[in-house]
Structure formats: structure tokens, C-alpha cells
């Protein structure tokens, strides 16, 4: 029992550092996923038929293959096959980001499609080009509507990031595993890691809820139903 307390105490700062790495992976992946997701969503709603089919294929692939398989495929396979030399952390950010992009695109697409069609017409009637109208009129509305989905996506990504340890990234999970295999205090250590993730989920969701409040405009319902 005493030994357990000691191990927890000693390893806590080490695990907390891991939380920093986890945060980098998650935030990086979210932003990368955002960039991909927006473009896919716009392409799926406004794009030509061939483009819609192409991005549809992308979404189908990344939504249908497990993260673990994607991590192995890109880190050990495709990246080196293409001659790109990336650190494990960078690979994690890219793979999680590409996957998240596929999921995020569906959030944005739903939001864009839920806007009244008159919006685009009105913007065109004012002399805006389509891309200007999408950037200035459609997306600012759609993104506000997407925030609850975005917050959900955050908590999914956070949990998925725990898989990065299979590539040896030194985030929470990898460090916990490392300490546990040395001290044989598996149960308390993994429970502590679980607690860390739980807190990170809670913090992130709170933060995004705060953001929602800040960008709120009367008449937009953020919480469906």
C-alpha cells in the first residue's frame, strides 16, 4: 500500500509531462482535421460530381479503417515508402488528423446543409463570387452550428490519442505503461492515467462550451433538440 502511494507520487510529474505530449497530439490533430474537414465538406456540398466522389472515397476509407491499422500503415509503411521521414509524434498528428478530417467533414457538411438555401442566393445577388460567399456567409454560420459536434470530436480524439503509444510516442499512455512494467503497480497507475484522461476530457469540453457561449448569436441553436 505504502509502496503504491510512493510509486504514484514519484511518477505523477512524469505522467503529467505525458499529458503535455497528449495535448500537442490532440490539438495538432484537431487543427489538421479541421483544415481537411472543411475542404471536404465544401467539396461534398458544392463540388463537381467527380470531386464529390473522390472525397467520398477518402471519407469512406478513413471512417472504415481502425486507427491502429492506419498508424502502422502510415508510420511503418507509406511515409517511409514515400521517402518522408517523420517522428512518431508527427505521424500521430497526421494520422489522427486525417481520420478526424473525415469525421469532421460530416459535421460541417450537416451544418452547411442545414442552412437555408436562400443564404447563398442572397450573397450571389449582392455580387459575391461563390467562393467569397462560402467563406464570408456560409462558413461563419456553419461553424457556429458545428461547435457541439466539434466538442464531441475532441473527446474522441483525446481517447484515440492513447493509441499513439504503439509507435513509442511518449504521451500519457506510453509513460504509464513504462512505469507500470517496471514497478508492477499496474492497477493504480492505469487508474491514475484514466483519471488524467477523464480530467482532460472534462477540461476540453468545458473550454469548448465556453467558446460556444462566446461566439453565440441570438437565433442559433447550438444544442439540437
Amino acid at each position: 500500500m505504502l509502496e503504491t502511494v510512493q510509486v504514484i507520487k514519484d511518477s505523477f510529474p512524469y505522467l503529467l509531462e505525458g499529458a503535455g505530449v497528449t495535448a500537442i497530439a490532440v490539438v495538432g490533430a484537431m487543427l489538421f482535421g479541421f483544415v481537411i474537414g472543411i475542404q471536404i465538406a465544401v467539396a461534398q456540398v458544392y463540388g463537381a460530381a467527380w470531386l464529390r466522389r473522390a472525397v467520398g472515397l477518402y471519407v469512406w476509407f478513413f471512417r472504415g479503417v481502425p486507427i491502429l491499422v492506419l498508424l502502422f500503415l502510415f508510420y511503418f509503411g507509406l511515409f517511409s515508402f514515400l521517402g518522408i521521414n517523420l517522428s512518431a509524434l508527427a505521424s500521430v498528428v497526421l494520422v489522427l488528423g486525417m481520420t478526424s478530417g473525415a469525421y469532421q467533414s460530416q459535421i460541417y457538411r450537416g451544418a452547411i446543409q442545414s442552412l437555408p438555401t436562400g443564404q447563398l442566393k442572397a450573397a450571389r445577388a449582392l455580387g459575391m463570387s461563390d467562393s467569397r460567399a462560402i467563406l464570408s456567409i456560409i462558413l461563419p454560420q456553419a461553424l457556429r452550428l458545428s461547435l457541439p459536434g466539434f466538442s464531441n470530436e475532441y473527446s474522441i480524439l483525446l481517447k484515440d490519442s492513447a493509441l499513439a503509444f504503439v509507435l513509442g510516442t511518449s504521451e500519457i499512455m506510453a509513460r504509464t505503461h513504462f512505469v507500470a512494467s517496471r514497478t508492477y503497480q499496474h492497477l493504480p497507475l492505469y487508474l491514475m492515467a484514466a483519471l488524467l484522461y477523464y480530467l482532460l476530457t472534462w477540461l476540453g469540453v468545458k473550454g469548448l462550451r465556453y467558446l460556444e457561449e462566446k461566439v453565440r448569436i441570438p437565433g442559433y441553436s447550438y444544442h439540437q433538440g
Binding site: 472504415g64 491499422v69 502502422f72 500503415l73 509503411g77 504503439v166 484514466a194 476530457t201
Partner: protein, 221 residues
Amino acid sequence: MEADFILQELMPALNRGLLKTLLLILPSASIGLCVGVLVGTARVYGHPLLKKLGDGYAGLFRGTPLVIQLFVLYFGLPNLGIYLEPYNAAVLGFILCTGAYQSEYVRGALLSIRRGQLLATQALGFSTLQAMIWIMVPQALRRALPGCGNEIIYLIKYSSLAYIITFIELTGEGKILATRYFRFTEVFLAIGFYYLVMVTLADFGLKKLEKRLYIPGFGKG
């Protein structure tokens, strides 16, 4: 050589793994759904204490990564003198995790059913249990079907985590093969293809089911 590798090595290994993966998914998905229905119903109509318990369970398992849950079951429980076989630990972890998510969909669906219907069952002399079984849960399941179906698809993909706790299924077999022959791209593309087929088939089946169970008034949204 190339065809030899695919036919002699890759396919047999992946098919063997696929079988193991199915052995993981089928019980986990079906039992997990039952857990979700029971817990979801308890979270809406149960005794206040039961509600709290259900909320706590769902919050805990939805708020932490599945891989940690599996590690707690497989590496952590031995600290308490409880030893689980890799397969049992994996299935138990999947059931607990997927059940938590399913309970959330069931709960949301139950809450969306107009309360008047419960009054009507009472006025007709239904017991609470009868009302749940014949009136509330059947409607909730229809409403929750898209969410529950999605969750099953997630489970298909996350079943790949079983290999981390040494139950060698599809991903595990592939990993071994890829490392032995140092052919990561081909092997993992092939594995990805296996999962894509499973997910696409499941998606197709679920859409079919949704159509078959369609009732006016229970459409989308």
C-alpha cells in the same frame, strides 16, 4: 513470388485473424447492446440510486480511452489476484465500453418519447415492466437505431485493440507478418481492406434493418 506471398502467407494469416476478430465482435456487439438497453432504461426510469450508478458507469467508460480499460482488466486486475484470459479481458472490456455508449443512445431516445404514452400505459393497467418491454423500449430502439448502428461500426474497428493485450486477431496477425517480412505497406493495406469490407457490410445491413423497421413517424430526425 508476389502471388506466392499473398496466397501462401498473407491470406491464410489474415483469414485466421478475421475469424478471431469476428469471435470478438459478435458477442461484444450483441451483449453490449443488451447492456446498453438495460442501463439506458435504468438511467431514465430506474430508482434514483440506480440512475446515479448508471450515469456514473456511462460517464466513466465514455470519458476514458478503451485501451486503458483493457489494460486495467488485463494488466491491472492481476494486482488484485484476478487473472483474465486475453480473449475474456478483451470481450469484457468491449462489452463494458460499448454498453456505456449504447446506453447513451437508448437514454436519449427514451427521453425523446412523449411522456403521455407512459401515462396511457398506466391508465390501461400495464405494470412498469410491461410498459417498458412493450411500449417504451421498442420505440426507443427504433429512435436509437442510427446511433446504435454507428456504435457497432466503431466496435468493429476498435476490436483491433485486442491484439495489444495479446489476443492475436486480424490486426495482430498482420502485425506479426509485416514485421517478419518487413512489408508494412502491403500488409496493412490488406488489413485495412478487410476492415473496410466488414464496416461496409455492417453499414449496409444496418441500413437494410432501418428500412425494414421503418414506421411512419419514426423517420429521420
